[in-house]
Amino acid sequence: MVPLLVAVAVVVLRRHLSRRATWMLTLATSAAVVGLAATLLVEVHGGLHVYWFGGWTPRHGVALGVSFTVDPFGVLGACFAGLLVSAVVLVATRVEQFGALAHALLLVLLAAAVGFCLTGDLFNLFVFFELMSVCTIALIAVNTSDVRSLRGALHFAIVNSIGAFFVLIGIALLYARTGALNLAVMGQRLAAHPADQLVVTAFALIVVGFLVKAAIVPFHFWLVDAATAAPAPVAMLMVGLLDTLGLYAIARVYWTVFSGPLHAHLALVQSVLIGAGVATAILGALLCLVQPLATRRLAFVSISHSGLALIAIGLLNPIGLAGFGIYACADGATKAALFSLVRAPRRTRGREPGSSPGWHGGRVGAALVVLAAAGLAGLPPGGTYLAKGLLEDGASGWGRVLLGGLVLVVSALTAGAVLHLLIGRRAGGGTAPAAEPAATGRWSWPLLAAAGLIGGAFVLGVVPGLGAHSLSAATRFEDRPVYAGTVLGVPRPASPTSREVDLGVVPALLGVAATAAGWGLARYRPFDSSRDRRRPVGAAPPVPLRRLQQLHRGGIGDSAAWLTFGTATIGAVLALGIR
């Protein structure tokens, strides 16, 4: 069943088809993946499914082959990947450089993402990880004449390669210790001993490798470069899919492999992950305010929200994870939709930019941007509202209050920044937003895709029982003994979990408040725009912010230096704390 997904995707590699046929075929394939994943989701609802490639079932506790270990969360990821890629295919109709080869790459990327979500083997995870990277590199540079996207691709490629090497070193360490590559077997072997330095180093390296993909501070510089410049469809993939999958991998690896030995140090791991998440959320939210360039602003918005998602994982409990699942889908879809709506910068030197509206699709497009901003802020009944509610529910005591405040502030700031794209243009852009003639008010494919993504994100919030389902899936996700038992053919009964999710009114109020605050921020606060000549005094951002922004203008070498710094910090904190 599962490998069919990969297989179907590959059929299209024969690329001697007309453009239209390629397009249809790609769309049909990704839709088929969604369908298959949905079927699978229904099928695995009761528990884990294990599939051994080549029929190599484990013997005496040794996993000979590679397994796909399918659980609801993983399938959800696969399903989401399929949906997003379908939307990307629709949006790509607008990008002329997106030829047959690019569509083929897109499908390979989809296959890799699906494999990444479902695999139960650490090295296999790495292979799919690399496959996703390589496809993305090639896709960013699809427009070979755009200097900025070439640079983005180089930046992405070098930094993510280093991240991948870190993961690989971690794998080598763990293999030498456990003598296995299957996640379940590794977890079982590691659980027999308390954590020592080898385990800590391996954990730090693997986590950093995936954090690079997720664009968490201080590993986020590549996203600023790459997402700003990449063609819209590829940027959608990066902010919607890749960062989500990076975070997913952290959760997966922690709960299947490391949770045994590291459980004794739960608070430490929590504080490292949440600390990185908080830093990311705040930095992204602050910096998105001072970006004049629309796509660059969105890049920071999405960095900020990745930080929130990392906090959800970092809570290291089922409620947080359930929140992450919903949040990743709803928020990822919204961010991707925004990237498809906002117009990419063009290389117009000397001419004052902003003479055309900053978004696609005329009025409908503008309305969609507003909706997306509301979604980002967590306005009920959006999916993000539900997710943020769960996220706040996952913390306790003072942490809960602080977290609620943080989420409120970050949501308001980012939503404000997005809304400002509209209002700022209208109020201070100089020229009136003369909508482009072709697409005014008409539903084009890209617009439809964006609407679908945003609509889907809102629908997620009203699906009855989604919270409870997600919670039970998350509980199962985190149950390492059951996971290992199922993989190795010694099934154990899962502890039944039935907990109703009752969020109360606070998250709803927070969501409304954040939306309102965002709106107000966009409307009245003249925080923007060095470009707005009529307000030269209020225009310059405060000095610390400018410093911070300066940091993001460095080259690839800067990125690598920060990568070293971040890895050293995370590694040292973990090592000192666990000693």
Partner: protein, 116 residues
């Protein structure tokens, strides 16, 4: 001996990173990436070594002879392929970038970011 094998892996990692951080030339930078990658090869192969053991190829060798670990070698082989292709892709990007800008400086910043 232990220190030497694992130490060389760690050393290559750090030296390669240093090269990437300080590079003034994109081709140089890309080659440094492949040095970092070499550290993973060395580590993988070193992890599977058993002194006195034969290679995991049993043609002409009695089955049951102690051999070194084949799994890490397989992983390493995969890694070599991946590394090569990524390097090729990077070099192609560099060539294209140079064609468009006439520069090989990894730190060249586009001022478009500022003006919007």
């Amino acid at each position: 001996m232990s220190i030497l094998a694992y130490g060389v892996a760690a050393w290559l990692l750090l030296v390669g990173l240093w090269g990437i951080v300080n590079s003034r030339n994109l081709v140089h930078q890309v080659i440094c990436v492949s040095v970092v990658q070499a550290s993973t090869y060395v580590l993988l192969v070193a992890v599977g070594y058993r002194s006195g053991a034969v290679a995991p190829v049993f043609s002409g060798v009695r089955v049951g002879t102690i051999a070194v670990d084949p799994v890490v070698q397989a992983l390493c082989l995969t890694d070599v392929v991946v590394g090569t292709t990524v390097t090729a892709l990077l070099l192609a990007l560099v060539v294209q970038w140079h064609k468009r800008t006439g520069s090989l400086d990894p730190d060249q910043v586009d001022d478009l970011d500022e003006q919007g």
